[in-house]
């Protein structure tokens, strides 16, 4: 969603000087209306995405991972749990063992590919709800706090500071020690530790916007604060939130993997990629693929999310979007002569 598509209501939107419109300069004597600007490149977001090859690849990978999580387990059926000791610890890339075992098998003869797919679902089932939960709670509280300022803001920020000042993994470790690990507990703990990120972002944006003219204008129309937040603050905040959420998704995925690796995350017989890495650790010399592939899956997913988030940060900021649309200089790409400092 881009700011171009954000709903504009009540004419209050027209009062908001978008970042790429120059403020009206007092026209010097003799001048009439300033020249009509050349039409801004209204490239829709997805087209902008296609121009950046790396970001497109990243987005494609993420969509693929999501589809695997949704449809994969249904497709592989029982292959993830069927034990077959005859086929224990088969090496990968030997087609003779059948396509299901193309990535090898584990000590119990279960197909690595199938287990990876099922683990994908578990991993996403923890990461996505955690991100969604922390995003919703954090941004709601943040918008509210930033809009009203005063004690609401201070309290919210102090709470956020407290949560942030402690390493999240540590907090999760201690809490899971006391409450014993389960998927729901993990989701809750991870969500709570990430709330401050969204809270701070939402608060900062909301506080900055509430002092702007168009909010005052809306207030004079008698709009209630809830409505103002919903109609004016939220649409502007949304792109930033989505970017932060994408990056946060990486972090939560890695956190869950670390917890599972340490033995206090997802518990067997459930599997997640982190847990698979841990289970493969003892077989490092004999069956390297047991740890390698799940780790690779994590890396690919998180790198894609990071790349996409970096692209989104530029694309959703109207003031920076030009960087993606400027044609490259005709000179050599390997050693461009134009330095920033020149």
């Amino acid at each position: 969603m881009s700011i171009d598509n954000a709903p504009r209501l009540d004419g209050a939107g027209d009062l908001y000087p978008g970042p790429d419109e120059t403020p009206a300069v007092a026209a010097p004597v003799g001048e009439t209306v300033p020249a009509p600007k050349p039409s801004r490149s209204k490239a829709p977001l997805w087209r902008l995405l296609l121009r950046d090859r790396m970001a497109t690849v990243a987005a494609a990978i993420l969509v693929f991972v999501f589809l695997v999580a949704v449809f994969g387990p249904w497709l592989v059926g029982d292959a993830a749990t069927d034990q077959n000791l005859d086929q224990s610890n088969l090496a990968p890339f030997h087609v003779a063992n059948g396509w299901m075992n193309i990535l090898g098998t584990d000590p119990l003869g279960r197909s690595m590919l199938a287990r990876l797919i099922v683990a994908c679902r578990t991993t996403l089932l923890v990461a996505l709800p955690a991100v969604a939960l922390s995003c919703i709670i954090g941004s709601l509280v943040g918008m509210w706090a930033g809009y009203h300022r005063g004690w609401r803001e201070t309290t919210a920020m102090r709470v956020a500071d407290v949560i942030m000042s402690f390493p999240s993994l540590l907090m999760a470790v201690v809490v899971l020690y006391v409450f014993s690990p389960s998927a729901a507990n993990i989701v809750l703990v991870l969500a709570i530790t990430r709330i401050p990120i969204y809270l701070r972002t939402a608060r900062a944006e909301s506080a900055e916007l509430q002092s702007r003219l168009f909010v005052d204008a809306a207030r004079t129309f008698g709009a209630r604060s809830g409505a103002v937040i919903r109609r004016h603050v939220f649409p502007i905040l949304l792109p930033t939130l989505l970017t932060v959420a994408t990056l946060d998704f990486c972090y939560v995925m890695l956190a869950e993997s670390s917890l599972s690796f340490l033995g206090i995350g997802i518990q067997p017989p459930d599997i997640s990629w982190g847990l698979m890495v841990s289970q493969g650790r003892t077989y490092l010399q004999t069956a390297w693929w047991l740890s390698f592939f799940p780790g690779l899956a994590i890396v690919i997913t998180t790198v894609s999310a990071t790349v996409l988030a970096a692209w989104a940060r530029i694309a959703t900021d109207p003031a920076q979007r030009w960087r993606l649309t400027v044609p490259r200089s005709r000179r050599s790409r390997l050693f461009p002569t134009r330095k920033v400092v020149s």
Partner: protein
């Protein structure tokens, strides 16, 4: 400057106090605390004895007083496993982690500055895009996987590095490399971004119009301005290093506070866990103060603001 620091100490004290009380609450108000301290196999008699010994049958308020006075005297109880004072164990393990963290952050900062400045100098060049991709990958790699793969390649297959322990100088390489990856990746991106902003700022043009050369512009003018956001992130990363240390120490058997915590968890040794957690909280508290002091040193405007 000192007034500023004093203010910061007061505001940073709050999280520390919250952790203090949080640990207490977690331990006592979530069911029978003896379950936390004693192994699962303990008999009811053992539990009763333990409770009486440690005042766990007293009302909560007096328990809190006991707890706080214990903390003030650095008495967190004894380890279930060794019977040693939990505080002693924690303090003994701490320096190992500190050394690891210090060298890691030092290398990360130096690396990030060098690579970040170089990439920002020629933005969108092939070199910049490669370093961006590398740093983004580095920021996303799960540390435990990197460690395991590292161990497999260098210790098992190639046999050039030890798999664990603190024996030789070589045994530092893999742990630090593992711990270093993520902070280096994140910090490089931040430095690069901040430098690109700084280099396109008006004061850089002014410096150029005075005849300043590239080196002076980058190191003298731009870097000082880019340092502030980089410092903030560096601070957050150092806090996150504690996370990384837990994993790294578990894998490499590094005798630091992270390993102590994991062992305490696996052996249900709550006293030691408590001591380790609190020690970590205090060090983070001190670290945040130092970072804010650095922030103030860099930028005069920060010193003058009353609300930080």
């Amino acid at each position: 400057m000192f007034a500023f620091l004093r203010r910061r100490v007061y505001t940073s004290l709050v999280p520390l106090l919250v952790v203090l009380f949080g640990v207490f609450l977690l331990a006592r108000l979530t069911g029978d605390p003896t379950n936390l301290y004693l192994p699962v196999s303990a008999t009811p008699d053992q539990r009763a004895e333990f409770a009486a010994e440690n005042g766990l049958d007293k009302p909560v308020l007096s328990q809190m007083v006991d707890y706080l006075s214990g903390v003030a005297h650095l008495d967190f109880g004894e380890s279930l496993r060794t019977g040693e004072s939990a505080a002693t164990m924690a303090l003994r393990a701490f320096p190992a982690t500190l050394q690891l963290a210090f060298f890691t952050m030092l290398l990360a900062i130096i690396g990030a500055i060098v690579i970040g400045c170089w990439a920002a100098y020629r933005p969108n060049s092939l070199a910049d895009r490669i370093s961006s991709l590398l740093s983004m990958t580095a920021a996303s790699i799960p540390d435990f996987w990197f460690a395991i793969t590292g161990v497999w390649i260098f210790a098992v297959v190639l046999g050039v590095l030890p798999t664990s322990g603190t024996g030789s100088a070589l045994s530092w390489i893999l742990p630090i490399a593992t711990l270093l990856i993520r902070p280096l990746g994140v910090l490089t991106q931040v430095v690069r971004g901040a430098m690109v902003s700084a280099l396109s700022a008006p004061y850089v043009r002014l410096a150029r119009s005075k005849g300043a050369g590239d080196l002076r512009v980058v190191t003298h003018h731009a870097l000082r301005n880019a340092a502030a956001p980089a410092l903030t992130v560096a601070g957050d990363l150092t806090v996150g290093l504690v996370n990384g240390a837990v994993v790294v120490e578990a894998i490499f058997g590094w005798p630091g506070i992270g390993k102590l915590m994991i062992d305490a968890i696996l052996q249900r040794d709550f006293a030691v866990l408590q001591a380790a957690v609190l020690l970590t909280a205090v060090s983070i508290f001190v670290l945040n103060i130092l970072i804010d002091a650095g922030y103030a040193l860099l930028d005069a405007r920060v010193r003058e603001k009353s609300k930080v």
